[in-house]
Amino acid sequence: MTRFVFTLLNGITLAGLYFLVASGLTLIFGLMRVINLAHGAFYLLAGYISWNVVDKTDNWFLGILLGALSLGIFGLLVYLILLRKFQYEELRVALITLGVSLMLAQGMLALFGGEYYQTSIPENLSQSIPIPGIEISYPLFRILVLFLAIIVAIGLWLFITKTRYGAIIRAGVDDTAMVSALGINIQAVFIWIFFLGSVLTGFAGSIGATTNSFGMGTDGDYLLFSLQVVIIGGLGSIGGVAIGSFLVGVIGQFAVGYYPTLSGIITFAMLVLILAFRPQGILGKIR
């Protein structure tokens, strides 16, 4: 029972992190049809930046803030310099981002070396809290990450469904040409969305660097998680990301906890099974 609850908690809190990681990817794709396959590398870069900031300044919140912001700016530069011109050629853009990912992977290896790091949790958040009903206590910070993910999810949902900007984004998802015909500068909207999506990725990377150790190879791992999440949930849908992260997080953790050797196959089998019935993902739309 204890093991079950513990695994479940691990799964749910990890799902929170996955949601943060994949929401930026899906937000950008939903509006712009641009898939950023350097996503894992962005995540890892944010981890390194925030770790270094926390290491130097001893201020965890500053580390998170700078990690998120610097990735926002970096992502924006990548978009403006490399992607913008080919924005309507989906495949070409995806391939260019893979090239970026290759360069980033080696750049980070050169700058930060092959060691693994983990940002230390601020002291007042580092205790464990008892879970009612079972004997074990659970790290408070992981539960906070889950709440953070829920807050971001609600914030994104409110932003997209209740605000004027959200309305522009929703309209842009359906018909970009019509939106610009209405006098809205859709190019400016694209820029902001790419910035916002990259900030989200940077935020996720900074948080993830505190909950899990990271280093060489983490970029590929988190690219895989995000791809699994958006493929299962349906690319371009925030709700889909929520469902996808829950499934990948919880089922992945149970697989690792109970059948460690087969864990990769179990997640993969789930992916195959879902796609067999819904090739566009659970909440994805057929375009």
Partner: protein, 319 residues
């Protein structure tokens, strides 16, 4: 047509004489020639799919990985003779193409790219975690080379000629397939699925056969890789290797069959040269890739066509 045939003949002669032409044969026959042929066959499985179905697959390393791991595990862990392990590996890799094709062929474009990338990365994470089977991160080392008729293919020249033979047979077979009615139907599917459906073709079986065939090529390449590198580890199917393969295909020219080998040869030479100047040759490859994508998306094989089109455009504009 004769011009094309002459080019092929010339290339064949050069390829056969290659070990006797290069200045530093100890290095270039193995690290240049055999490596380029191995990577070229892997890349060919990808360009075949892209050229005939318009699908860019990052799943080829999955098939290569499956067959490579099976050769490695059966021969190193269980001591199976390669006469059994090689067909078994190729069969398994090819059959895994049926499973992947079943889900991946429902998608197109970037979705297909993403899905196949996820499949390959999934194998990476499996290979990393399933320690009892794959020996985890260290991988499986010292895979024995095959010995056929007393010829030990561990030596660089026999291996090179074996690889050359395999590459020629596969390349010729791809060319042959494209000339059959099956190959022409494939191009029809690539260009307009709806029209082909209206004409009474069943699309999915056509796509499936092409996909499984490309998995078959990739599986052969996986065996070649296992014998060439003599070890296999999760990194053999990791993100960087997947992108490396993509670089080869795109730089050579993703819509040309020969592009796979042109790209492989170019990248092998490029890395060998850049390696002398900087240890960050992977980043240099990435930069080269982005430059090619921006300036010449049709790759090296497509450059002359690109120039011709640009000149034609200019002429039209001038008139």
């Amino acid at each position: 047509m004769t011009k094309v045939r002459n080019t092929y003949l010339l290339l064949l002669v050069v390829a056969i004489a290659f070990p006797y032409l290069v200045p530093d044969p100890d290095f270039w026959v193995s690290s240049g020639g055999s490596r380029a042929l191995w990577l070229g066959v892997t890349a060919l499985s990808m360009s075949f799919l892209n050229r005939n179905l318009g699908l860019m697959s990052l799943g080829q390393l999955f098939f290569s990985g499956i067959s490579g791991y099976i050769v490695a595990i059966s021969s190193v862990t269980y001591g199976v003779k390669f006469g059994t392990s090689v067909p078994l590996a190729i069969l398994a890799g090819t059959l895994s193409g049926v499973v992947i094709g079943f889900i991946a062929l429902k998608t197109k474009g970037v979705y297909f790219l993403m899905l196949t990338l996820a499949v390959t990365l999934g194998l990476y994470s499996f290979a990393n975690s399933a320690q009892e089977i794959t020996r985890g991160h260290t991988g499986i080392n010292s895979i024995p080379s095959p010995v056929i008729f007393g010829i030990d293919f561990a030596y660089s020249k026999p291996m090179y000629y074996l690889f050359l033979l395999i590459a020629i047979i596969i390349f010729a077979f791809c060319k042959f397939l494209e000339s059959t009615s099956f190959g022409i139907a494939l191009k029809g599917v690539r260009d307009n699925e709806d029209r082909m459906t209206a004409m009474g073709y069943r699309i999915l079986p056509l796509k499936m056969i092409a996909f499984v065939f490309s998995a078959f090529i990739a599986s052969i390449a996986g065996v070649m890789g296992a014998f060439y590198v003599t070890n296999i580890s999760p990194d053999s199917v990791g993100l960087i290797r997947s992108i490396d393969l993509l670089v080869i295909v795109v730089v050579g020219g993703a819509t040309y069959l020969g592009g796979a080998f042109v790209g492989a040869a170019l990248i092998v030479v490029f890395e060998a040269i850049v390696q002398d100047f900087t240890q960050y040759y992977v980043a240099a490859t990435g930069a080269l890739f982005i430059i090619v994508l921006i300036l010449a998306p049709q790759g090296l094989m497509g450059i002359s066509a690109q120039f011709r089109r640009a000149r034609a455009k200019k002429l039209v504009a001038a008139k």
